[in-house]
C-alpha cells in the first residue's frame, strides 16, 4: 500500500450540497434531475453565490451509456447548469462514482489547480425494464468469471451474508431490522423514493387491496409482512425485496472550495478533514467474505488524515445497497467489533437517538439508489445534519463529525470521507 499518512497540500471545505427528489421520473432526463440538484445546492450556499465562480465540474455516473444511450455526459451536465466552457469530467467507479468524484474534486483543489469545484452525481435507471437494469448493474461485476456463473448484485451480497451468518450466527431477521430502521428514517425525508415506514407500507397494501376488492392480506404485524413470500419475495437467498435498495433516478450536487475561501460562501462551512480510497479483488479472490477490505483501508486512510478514530464519529451515512452491506460497513468502519454489527439496529445503537446514528437519510435502502449519484447523496445528509438543518430527522446534540462511506460494486472500490463542522 502507498503511504497513507499524507495530508492534503491545501485544505478543502464543503459549502453547499443538494439533491433532486429520488424516484422514478419518466418525464425527465438525467440533465433535468441534475438541474434540480444544482438548484438545491445553490440555495444551500448561504451568502451571495455566483455560479460563475465554479472552475471545474466533476460528475459521478455509472452507466448513462447503457441506461440512457448517452455517453460523455460530463460536458452535458456542465452545459445544463450554465458552466460551459469549464473543464468537465465523468468519474466511473460503479456505485462509488460520485464519492470518488468528490475525492477527485478535492484533489483538484488541494493541488492548487482550482479554488471552486462543483462535484455531483447522476443516474437515470428507470428507462430500462428491470431485467435490463439487472444486466446493466451486473456489468460492474467481473464479466469473465463472476457474471457467467449466474451472479447478480443481490446474489453477491447474499453470498457475503451466507458467510457472515455462518461465522457469526446472524439471521435474516437481523437484516430486516436494518430495513425497518432505514425506512423509519426515510419516512422523514421528503426526497426519499420510498419514504414510508414498513408498518405504514403494510397498511397501504391492505387499503389498496380493499379498494380494488381483492382479498385483504392478514398480516399480524410487520414481521408477518416481511416473512410473506408474496409481499416480500426472495431475490437472492437470504436477501428479500426489502433487503435491497431500489432502482432509482436521481442526481446530487455539492460545492467544495479551498478552505481560505469558504467564509466567502457561508458562515457554516464543513471542513473535509479526511479522504480515503482503496480497491479490492473480485469477491472470490478475497480471504474474508464477511468484511470489505477496501472499506477498512479507505477508512484507515481517512481517519489518519483526519486525526480522529471511529469513536469520534457522531453520525455516518454508509453504503446500504443491501441490508447486509450496512452491517458489514458498520464493522469495517470500526464502529463495532467484527460479528457484532448485525444486532445494533435492534439494540437501537444505530437509530437516530442511538450512540452512532447510521443512515438518518433513510440510506440507499429507503431514499433510493441512483447508483452514480448515491455517494454525494450521502454527503447531502451529512451537510444537513452537521449544520442542524435536517428537519424532523435532525439528530439531537452538538454534532461536529460525520462520515460518508461509499462502495463500488462488491467492494472493489470504497471511498470514505470525514466532515467536521467549524466552530
Amino acid at each position: 500500500m502507498p503511504d497513507n499518512h499524507k495530508k492534503l497540500a491545501r485544505g478543502v471545505s464543503l459549502v453547499g450540497a443538494g439533491m433532486s427528489k429520488f424516484g422514478s421520473f419518466p418525464e425527465k432526463s438525467s440533465r433535468d434531475l441534475f438541474i434540480d440538484a444544482f438548484q438545491e445546492m445553490s440555495k444551500s450556499v448561504d451568502k451571495d453565490f455566483d455560479p460563475q465562480r465554479i472552475e471545474y465540474v466533476c460528475i459521478g455516473n455509472f452507466s448513462s451509456d447503457l441506461f440512457e444511450g448517452q455517453s460523455h455526459i460530463a460536458p452535458i451536465m456542465a452545459d445544463a447548469v450554465g458552466l460551459v466552457p469549464r473543464a468537465a469530467v465523468r468519474v466511473e467507479d460503479a456505485c462509488a462514482s460520485s464519492g470518488v468524484a468528490l475525492r477527485q474534486g478535492i484533489m483538484g483543489i488541494a493541488s492548487g489547480l482550482y479554488d471552486v469545484v462543483l462535484v455531483g452525481g447522476v443516474e437515470m435507471m428507470t428507462k430500462l425494464p428491470t431485467s435490463q437494469v439487472t444486466d446493466t448493474l451486473a456489468a460492474a461485476g467481473d464479466v469473465l468469471y463472476e457474471i457467467p456463473v449466474g451472479f447478480t448484485f443481490p446474489g453477491f451480497y447474499a453470498a457475503m451474508a451466507s458467510a457472515y451468518f455462518d461465522r457469526y450466527g446472524a439471521a435474516p431477521e437481523d437484516l430486516m431490522q436494518v430495513a425497518l430502521k432505514n425506512h423509519a428514517n426515510g419516512a422523514l425525508n421528503d426526497k426519499a423514493q420510498f419514504g414510508v415506514t414498513i408498518p405504514d407500507w403494510m397498511e397501504k397494501r391492505k387499503r389498496s387491496a380493499e379498494k380494488k376488492g381483492r382479498p385483504v392480506p392478514e398480516w399480524k404485524d410487520e414481521w408477518d409482512f416481511l416473512h410473506d413470500d408474496r409481499a416480500n419475495p426472495m431475490i437472492a437467498w437470504p436477501l428479500r425485496l426489502f433487503d435491497c435498495s431500489p432502482i432509482t433516478d436521481g442526481a446530487t450536487a455539492a460545492m467544495i472550495v479551498a478552505d481560505d475561501l469558504a467564509k466567502e460562501f457561508t458562515d457554516y462551512p464543513l471542513k473535509i478533514i479526511g479522504s480515503g480510497q482503496a480497491s479490492d479483488y473480485p469477491m472470490h479472490d478475497r480471504d474474508d467474505l464477511t468484511s470489505i477490505g477496501a472499506a477498512k483501508l479507505a477508512a484507515q486512510e481517512a481517519y489518519q488524515m483526519a486525526g480522529v478514530t471511529a469513536k469520534d464519529i457522531q453520525l455516518a451515512e454508509v453504503h446500504d445497497c443491501f441490508t447486509i452491506a450496512e452491517v458489514i460497513a458498520s464493522e469495517d468502519l470500526g464502529f463495532f467489533e467484527p460479528g457484532t454489527g448485525y444486532s445494533q439496529a435492534e439494540k437501537g445503537t444505530t437509530t437516530r437517538d442511538g450512540e452512532i446514528p447510521i443512515n438518518t437519510s433513510g440510506g440507499l435502502k429507503a431514499k433510493g439508489h441512483p447508483v452514480g449519484a448515491s455517494g454525494i447523496g450521502q454527503v447531502v445528509e451529512i451537510f444537513k445534519q452537521l449544520r442542524g438543518r435536517a428537519g424532523e430527522r435532525q439528530i439531537k446534540g452538538d454534532l461536529k463529525l460525520g462520515l460518508a462511506h461509499n462502495v463500488g460494486a462488491t467492494g472493489q472500490t470504497c471511498v470514505v470521507h470525514i466532515f467536521q463542522r467549524e466552530e
Partner: protein, 141 residues
C-alpha cells in the same frame, strides 16, 4: 503450439473447460496458484506462469440461491419459480472461484452448509456442441 504455450487468458481457461479440464495458472518463481488465471503474479511481480490441472476438489465458501437472475439465466428457464445456486468454491489447491452449484437444493438454501465438500462438474449451456461449458461444482467428495 504446445499446451503450455496457451496465453494466460479467460479464453484459454474456457477452451480447457470445453475440453473437460479445470486448469489454473501457477507462478514458476513463487509456486502460487491462480484461478482466475493470471499472466502476472501479484505476489512476486514476475510473468513466469505455467498451466496446471487442478484436482477439481474443493469446499463451499459462500453461496446464494438466485430467484431474480440475469437475462441469460431467465432464457434457460430459471427465475422466481425455479431458482438456481451459485457461490464461491475454495479449491483444495488454495484458490477460490465463482461457480454454479449442483446437487444441492436451491429451494432450501438455509439447509446448505458452508464447508460442504464439492467436486468439479461443468454444465453445458450452449447448443450442446461442448463449446460453452459453465463452471460448476457438485456436492460430493
Amino acid at each position: 503450439m504446445s499446451e503450455n504455450d496457451k496465453p494466460f487468458t479467460a479464453y484459454s481457461f474456457q477452451q480447457y473447460l470445453n475440453q473437460g479440464q479445470l486448469k489454473a495458472s501457477q507462478c514458476v518463481d513463487c509456486q502460487k496458484i491462480y484461478l482466475p488465471v493470471r499472466a502476472i503474479c501479484p505476489d512476486c511481480g514476475q510473468s513466469n506462469m505455467d498451466w496446471i490441472e487442478l484436482s477439481g476438489k474443493g469446499k463451499l465458501a459462500a453461496y446464494t440461491s438466485v430467484y431474480i437472475g440475469p437475462s441469460f439465466m431467465n432464457e434457460r428457464g430459471y427465475g422466481r419459480d425455479k431458482p438456481y445456486l451459485t457461490g464461491i468454491v475454495e479449491l483444495e489447491e488454495g484458490p477460490r472461484i465463482s461457480a454454479r452449484l449442483l446437487g444441492l437444493d436451491p429451494e432450501n438454501p438455509s439447509k446448505i452448509k458452508i464447508g460442504t465438500p464439492l467436486v468439479y462438474s461443468g454444465i453445458e449451456i450452449g447448443d450442446g456442441d461442448g463449446n460453452s461449458i459453465q463452471l460448476a461444482f457438485k456436492a460430493g467428495e
